[in-house]
């Protein structure tokens, strides 16, 4: 098995901040907007270095999305920053009309996605954002797995012309992908080769999937692990190629199983090669207060749950 080393746990939002800082130095068209959450989004360094290219909007996310759309008219590449909940559900119609339908080059950068924001509870723990955003025609949806990948994704989306939803989180998680990686939108990454079951994971669940594969290996089950950082457009080929070999699949995401990665994968499989699938995801529920680890455990979003799902699904082959 390939071994992945945690280079030191970091939060993915800091990866966004690092990527944005780099963009500030390299791309004069990049501008940033924030709705009163500079510290949470790790935008301080960009602002310090580019005060003229930063727009503090205040607590007015709808206005922020409209201003971002307007800034593209004149060639700017706006990156909006707020929590995932306020980046999507709160401003869905603004995104739909002024950004997605209008085809504007806005990068909607969303932190604190999922239950792992922890103690703030369900009002802030959006578990529906991937579904909301992937349903918008033309919207790219990216959920990177660690600090390094979030930094790489942040930089990559500046070079892509069109609306993007970039989702990341609050907790410190294993940082295991290469610091110098190139990031290709829509390209899944084969992290672990296996033959008995395919585990397709996104975001914080990728490290959990790697941990699960180790446990499964000890139990004599060979798991293939794929990092799907881009939920839309989905890398159909890497998934179909893998299930052709394994014949069973587990999808893993910190999101509702309605509307998430799992459903996108299920659609691709149904259209091409129907395959038994288990969904590691929240099951049509809101979150609650707790530590990230407690919540991951309670809602079945960790390596332990992925192991159990894998053992279950291979029985259905």
């Amino acid at each position: 098995m390939k071994e992945y080393i945690n280079q030191g746990s970091q939060d993915t939002r800091s990866g966004f901040g690092a990527g944005l800082t780099e963009l500030g130095r390299t791309n004069p068209n990049v501008v940033a907007l924030c709705a009163d959450l500079i510290g949470s989004l790790k935008m301080d360094q960009f602002i310090e270095e580019n005060p003229d290219r930063f727009f503090q909007i205040g607590i007015a996310e709808a206005n922020m999305m409209g201003i971002a759309a307007g800034l593209t008219i004149g060639g700017k590449i706006p990156f909006t920053g707020t929590f995932a909940n306020f980046s999507t559900g709160r401003v869905y119609d603004q995104i739909r009309q002024s950004i997605a339908y209008s085809g504007k080059n806005v990068k909607i950068c969303a932190s604190h996605a999922g239950v792992t924001l922890g103690e703030d509870g369900a009002t802030h723990q959006i578990l529906e954002d991937i579904g909301l955003m992937k349903m918008l025609p033309g919207m790219v949806v990216i959920n990177p797995c660690d600090f390094n990948q979030t930094k790489a994704a942040t930089m990559a989306i500046a070079d892509y012309d069109g609306p993007v939803y970039l989702r990341f989180g609050r907790p410190k998680v294993a940082n295991f992908t290469p610091a110098d990686q190139s990031f290709e939108i829509g390209k899944g990454l084969l992290l672990q080769e296996g033959s008995d079951v395919t585990i397709v994971a996104t975001g914080h669940l990728v490290w959990e999937a790697l941990e699960a594969a180790k446990t499964l290996n000890e139990k004599g089950i060979s798991a293939e692990v794929i990092n799907i950082h881009t939920i839309k457009p989905l890398d159909n080929d890497i998934i179909l190629k893998s299930v052709a070999k394994t014949g069973a699949i587990v999808t893993a995401e910190e999101h509702n199983f309605l509307g998430g990665l799992g459903e996108s994968v299920a659609r691709v499989l149904a259209e091409n090669t129907p395959t038994p699938q288990e969904f590691i995801a929240t099951k049509d529920t809101f979150g609650e207060s707790g530590t990230p680890a407690q919540l991951m455990d309670k809602y079945g979003l960790n390596a332990k749950a992925i192991v159990a799902a894998s053992e279950k699904i291979i029985q259905r082959k």
Binding site: D52, A60, N63, I67, A69, L71, G74, S98, Y101, G103
Partner: protein
């Protein structure tokens, strides 16, 4: 096309265009469109500094955003009459495969349109963003926006109004079509808004009120005055008191023609009141 007389000719032709467009497909919004015909003609033919052709970024020219997208007929007519696309294309309004969607959109690539609008309350924020982009680009041209008065009931406007004053977006002239009417009746009946002028002033805007919002001279003077006030640290609002359905007697003094097309007989009567000037499409 810069004299008041010829602008009046354009207005009359624009009215005919509006009426014929909505009549043909038996849908669309003639009332507000007719009420803003003079404003659009003044803006596009007398006020705005425009480049030849169209590009999305609008650098080194004035740009305009329509927030109350349902008055697309007047927007389309004025854009076509200004040369953005062939006037014959007005014939495709609201038809399948047309670039002239029910509400304006960039999606079909119609020259002159820079944002989709229709879902209300979003245009002012977009205009602010475009104005701030102009400042970053050191482009001294203006950004214009038009909103409906009923539309001010959408909360996003007030986020935008607060922001524009706080951030000194002084290269922006936002006009409110103060016709006092919305779908369910008068704005005073549906949701009284109190003093719109007082609200804008309290938020820190410069406010100009045009009592004769269907008078080309009055509109032109207000837009020129507004422009002269730009660059002084405050966004500028023009409150334009218009008559919905202006120029067609039976469409005036009522909200009934907000979203209703005339029948054959009504069209004939309406067109008779507005004889052809530049030539029908």
């Amino acid at each position: 096309m810069s004299t008041t007389h010829s602008s009046q000719d354009i207005v009359t032709q624009v009215r005919r265009d509006i009426l014929r467009m909505v009549h043909k497909v038996n849908s669309g919004h003639p009332g507000g469109s007719l009420g803003c015909a003079e404003f659009f003609v003044s803006l596009y033919n007398e006020i705005m500094e425009l480049k030849e052709g169209f590009d999305m970024d609008g650098i080194n020219e004035d740009v305009f955003f329509l927030s109350n997208g349902h008055i697309s007929p007047v927007f389309y007519s004025v854009l076509a009459r200004r040369g953005y696309f062939p006037v014959e294309e007005l014939n495709t309004f609201r038809l399948i495969d047309s670039r002239l969607q029910g509400h304006p959109t960039t999606h079909e690539g119609l020259p002159g349109i820079r944002i989709a609008s229709g879902s209300l309350g979003q245009g002012l924020s977009v205009a602010i963003g475009a104005a701030q982009a102009k400042k970053l680009n050191k482009d001294s041209h203006m950004v214009y926006a038009l909103m409906g008065d009923g539309e001010l009931q959408e909360g996003q406007n007030w986020e935008a109004i607060m922001y524009a004053a706080a951030k000194k977006v002084d290269n922006l002239i936002a006009t409110v079509d103060l016709n006092g009417k919305q779908i369910d009746g008068s704005t005073d009946k549906v949701l009284p808004m109190g003093s719109v002028e007082g609200k804008f002033k309290a938020f820190g805007w410069e406010v100009l009120t045009v009592e004769e919002g269907n008078d080309l001279t009055a509109i032109g003077n207000a837009l020129r005055e507004a422009k002269s006030m730009s660059g002084n640290g405050k966004p500028i609002c023009i409150l334009l008191k218009t008559e919905m359905g202006n120029g067609v007697d039976f469409m005036m003094h009522t909200h009934a023609w907000h979203g209703k097309a005339p029948n054959d007989e009504q069209l004939e009567s309406a067109l008779a009141q507005n004889p052809e000037t530049l030539g029908d499409y």
